[in-house]
């Protein structure tokens, strides 16, 4: 489904990603872990098409299409969803209104008729139950005055509504208490299927107790330096990242 080959990206001339290679197949959950500043969030942003990042080398294929040549909105319409680490506030625009605009543009791109108000609302009701979100929250201005937990829950709700092929969760666990973490993870797990894939970007192993990954990758200095099964995450939790840093730094020939 997703194939990243030798991806290099920089911001304002400073290289952040230095040759990422990653294959994600339908039905899989991949966790991207790593110390602060290793490039985890940059990878998520580059895949979603954030303009500040300049891709200097490499290519990314998503369902056979050259992802990097698509605009951010077309990537979304093709089925790439990014759950933001820091969801953005849009005053005066309710989640409902926002999602209706988004969903209908996605549908238009896919050659589908726009959903009428009745169908849209029944879809909302169905998805609201998934993430235990309150209707009241959805009629408030998007993310304005939301608590950290409400913002993240709202992201997962949007994900449920837009029904993406590839979901990228960028530090979705940050700022969540244990109950919110459970609700958000349950939502993500319910949305998983054989035809979709999930990339979970996280600093801590905690989230992976709930969203169990098939593969764990450690990102350090812009490269994936270690990959393994879910046990790798537990090992990292126990030993920290230092042993990997040392391993990498000692073998690095400059």
């Amino acid at each position: 489904m997703l194939s990243i080959k030798n991806l290099h990206a920089s911001i304002e001339g400073t290289p952040i990603l230095r040759g990422i290679n990653l294959e994600v197949k339908a039905g899989e959950v991949h966790a991207i872990m790593g110390p602060n500043g290793s490039g985890k969030s940059t990878l998520a942003s580059v895949l979603a098409g954030r303009e500040e990042y300049e891709v200097t080398e490499g290519e990314v294929f998503f369902q056979g299409k050259e992802l990097l040549s698509l605009s951010p909105e077309d990537r979304a319409r093709e089925g790439v969803f990014l759950a933001f680490q820091y969801p953005i506030e849009i005053p005066g625009v309710s989640t409902t209104n926002f999602l209706r605009t988004a969903l209908n543009q996605v549908r238009e791109y896919r050659g589908q008729e726009p959903l009428d108000a009745v169908k849209f609302l029944s879809l909302m009701k169905e998805k609201m139950a998934l993430v235990e979100i309150d209707q009241k929250l959805l009629s408030r201005s998007l993310n304005e005055g939301f608590s950290g937990g409400e913002k993240k829950r709202n992201e997962i709700f949007q994900m449920a509504m837009l029904n993406p092929v590839l979901s990228i969760l960028d530090e979705t666990d940050s700022g969540l208490d244990i109950d919110a973490l459970r609700i958000v993870s349950n939502g993500v797990n319910k949305l998983k299927s054989d035809t979709t894939a999930t990339i979970v970007v996280t600093h801590y192993q905690r989230l992976l107790d709930y969203i169990v990954p098939d593969f764990v990758h450690v990102l350090y200095k812009g490269r994936i330096v270690k990959s393994g099964k879910k046990e790798l995450a537990l090992e990292l939790e126990e030993k920290g990242y230092d042993w990997i840093k040392e391993e990498v730094d000692s073998t690095a020939t400059v």
Binding site: P72, E73, F84, P87, Q105
Partner: protein, 481 residues
Amino acid sequence: MSKDNQILEDLNSKEYEHGWSVNFETDEAPLGLNEDIIRWISTKKEEPSWLLEWRLKAFKIWQGMTEPTWANVKYLKMDLQALRYYSAPKQSKKPKNINEVDPELIAIYERLGISLHEQKRLQGIAIDVVLDSVSVATTFKETLGKLGIVFCSFSEAVKEHPELIQKYLGSVIPMTDNYYAALNAAVFSDGSFCYIPKGVRCPMELSTYFRINAANTGQFERTLIVADDSSYVSYLEGCTAPQRDENQLHAAVVEIYAGAHAEVKYSTVQNWFPGDKEGKGGIYNFVTKRGICAGDHSKISWTQVETGSAITWKYPSCILKGDYSIGEFYSVAVTNNYQQADTGTKMIHIGKNTKSRIVSKGISAGKSQNSYRGQVQVMKRAHNARNFSQCDSLLMGNQCGAHTFPYIDIANPSAKVEHEATTSKIGEDQIFYCNQRGIATEDAVALIVNGYAKEVLNQLPMEFAVEAQKLLALTLEGSVG
């Protein structure tokens, strides 16, 4: 950085939609302004002598005045002697009803999306249309007449209801008020008049649609709305003009009188030609609008969506004379390219327990300048006056300006006055967030701007609100990369 440049390059790729004009025979005054022209206009309109005297008095006063320079706008002074002060479409005789109006005129309005045929107007809005200097048609007259409501052109009101005109003309905005109000008093040609009798709730929206068609012509209309005790009316005003290289002057006066327990809601969607993207042409919109809450418990509410005009100079105000009276001002002013707007309101608290509310939302893009100027004045006798003001500015790109000039003048210690102000930029973050959910950039801007202006747009009657939303999106189309 490259995105910013892109933003500016793309600015206003959309042309002004109403920029066409129509050639038809007109009845015009000679160019220039002097006593003879005023007499010419008055004769043309078969006015009574008291009105001519009133005009001439205004002209004398105007001659002694100078153009105000305090507004935060820069422009080349207009040569008022090079303008034409009267231009009317030629009709063989005055139409008695809509069926006698020149089909060509009706076609102009159809092209603007305004149908003058009553049976076609499903929304139940009575409409008076003013083309250049004269009112060409008023719909639903009979329906309204049964309730005792008078809704007609100003010229007609002078003939049919002289006692009302004499009583209220200039009672809210005296001819001495300011340079443009005095000029308007001297040369005004037509406009709308509306009278709602005691205890009557006007069953439909009343609307005036103004259009400037002729070249080198100023439009000086006058609107007078009188809401007698315990009556209610909602009034809409819309405007467009053809695209021309030279600047055109629009100096209107709107006066509103509200008796005890009366309520008047006045909404404007102003879309005069704003000039092209180099800042050439466009309407100078120098307008004086004021209402008086004369009776106790009366209410006047101004809502304006200002998207057009090269220069806007406009402060719809409320004089809160009656005890417990309420004044409101809701405004969205959008400027793009080289547009300049200096707009806001005055709330003058005279009566006891009077309340006012000001919500102003400025949106600046391109190289435009957008200023809010507002005055809240609480007089000595105005015990327990309350005011709440909120002035927000939204900037797009980095070459535009937003300014706020609030004046607060309190002479009674029991007053409670609050002022809040914010300035923000449409963030690339917000746009990226929308993009990531599949929303195209143009639509993202429209969504964000409409969300920002929501509190004001909510005040508009339904049909107008939809139009205003589209207009906001259109005005800003292409202003973000």
